[in-house]
Amino acid sequence: MQRRLRLSFVLGLLILIYMVSVILVNFQTFSSLAQVPAGLIWLFKNFIPNEHTASYLGPILYQLWRTLIISISSTICAALLSLIFAVLGAKTTSPNRGFQLTVRFGASLLRNIPVVAWAMILLFSFKQSDFTGFLALFFMTLGYLTRAFTETIEDLDGEKLQALQAVGANYFQCVFCGVLPEVASSLTSWVLYMIENNLRDATLVGILTGTGIGFLFNHYFKGFRYDAAGLIVLLIAVLVILLELTSTQIRRAIA
């Protein structure tokens, strides 16, 4: 009974907040809703690819391919470096506290700068090129994966490593024979996830760095060739879905 009372109170409060904000910004709820269908119709009319769009397919596929390659290569490069940082920084395997703090701080710094900001900062040093896009994705991924890898390694049962120490294994042997086999499958999952994520981000980064599929989208969009821009959106979605399906398969195979 009390729960129901509390629930209706919260609901009432939300409605009140909505009413107050509607009045404050002079928002016309019903006429706005009425505009939605017309907006959608315009969207579909212009962005749905038509018979002329096929001529754009060549350059679009080429740029999509480049974007995919950059997302994958930046993720893989970042993953290799992250693994080294994570082993140095994880509590279970860190050689000392100094490394732990440095890695933790560095990773959170890299991670908390949005990828768009990375692209804009790097634009000054590396100009409009594929490499700028690569670096922007690389730095963000490095921060993200270092954090994820560190936590995965820390979740590992420390007793398993003690067992290897008891055998007489030294530090590097413990890492290679114990830590890496234990975390390999979950690290792979993280890398696959980051590749998917980076493909989506690469589109945005491309708009800023003037390369890849993002640039092409921007180019068509500003040139009023909405059908081609629509085709790009469609193809990106298809590619991301394909990538997701593939990585699900891979994950299942290695689990």
Binding site: D157, A166, G168, Q173, C177, P181, E182
Partner: protein, 257 residues
């Protein structure tokens, strides 16, 4: 022979974990350490191969003091001391065979160990050891697909791969069912007798200790209260070893009333 002299360990301030612990364990015998939880059984066992650093005393294995060893020497000593655990502590995504081969790590160069370069002789020996503990058919199975009892036997094979003088067993049967307990304990006793190994084992279960051990060390609040052959253990001795437990029990029942 393992000879521990006046071993001390303090956790934090004034909290004694071990107080002048001294005992001996002979090759060819199963020596069981029994006592209430928190008495210091695990601390003793892990001091012996220095997984836990103690604060003072002597640990002599065949007259060599383990506590005096430097890093490289300690690695060499550990190479010949096997250890098995309550939670088995195998590397679970690897096969039983790979885990057994880990027993050679202490004698390998860093690189050979890192990349798992084992000789054919070592692989043959590992397979033979798996056969010896009755797991020949499971050599190529991932360890997380084995039952608890099977994993513990892989653990024993890993220890044997070290060509050990001694095997330390930290509550090896605490997570096992009675049937697996019997298999594991039978193997350990057989190893002590046939290979003249020192088997030092922490046990919770008094009945298992009485059945399998030749020598009993009773410990209570970090101090040794009994050491002697199993035949000398009677109710009075057990009461002395588990003193604290009964006191707590009476307190709890008193509270409940």
């Amino acid at each position: 022979m393992l000879k521990v002299n006046q071993l001390d360990k303090t956790y934090g301030k004034d909290k004694h974990s071990l107080k002048a612990v001294s005992f001996t364990a002979q090759p060819g015998e199963v020596t069981a350490i029994i006592g209430p939880s928190g008495a210091g059984k695990t601390t003793i066992l892990r001091s012996v191969n220095q997984l836990i650093r103690d604060d003072g005393g002597q640990i002599l294995l065949d007259d060599q003091d383990i506590r005096q060893a430097n890093k490289a020497e300690l690695r060499k000593i550990r190479h010949h001391i096997g250890m098995i655990f309550q939670n088995y502590n195998l590397i679970s995504p690897l096969t039983a065979l790979e885990n057994v081969l880990h027993g050679r790590l202490g004698g390998k160069s860093t690189l050979a160990g890192m990349f798992g370069l084992y000789s054919n002789a070592e692989k043959t020996e590992a397979l033979a050891l798996l056969d010896e503990v009755g797991l020949k058919d499971y050599a190529y199975q991932r360890c997380d697909q084995l039952s608890g009892g099977q994993q513990q036997r892989v653990g024993i094979a890993r220890a044997l791969m070290q060509h050990p003088k001694m095997i330390l067993c930290d509550e090896p049967i605490a997570s096992l069912d009675p049937k697996s307990t019997q298999i594991v304990m039978d193997i350990l006793r057989k190893l002590a007798q046939e290979k003249q190994l020192i088997i030092l084992i922490n046990l919770h279960q008094i009945d298992v200790a009485m059945t399998y051990a030749d020598h009993i060390i009773g410990i209570n609040s970090g101090a040794i209260v009994f050491e002697g052959p199993t035949t000398e253990v009677d109710d009075q001795v057990l009461q002395r070893i588990y003193r604290q437990d009964t006191e707590i029990k009476t307190m709890v029942t008193a509270d409940e009333n």
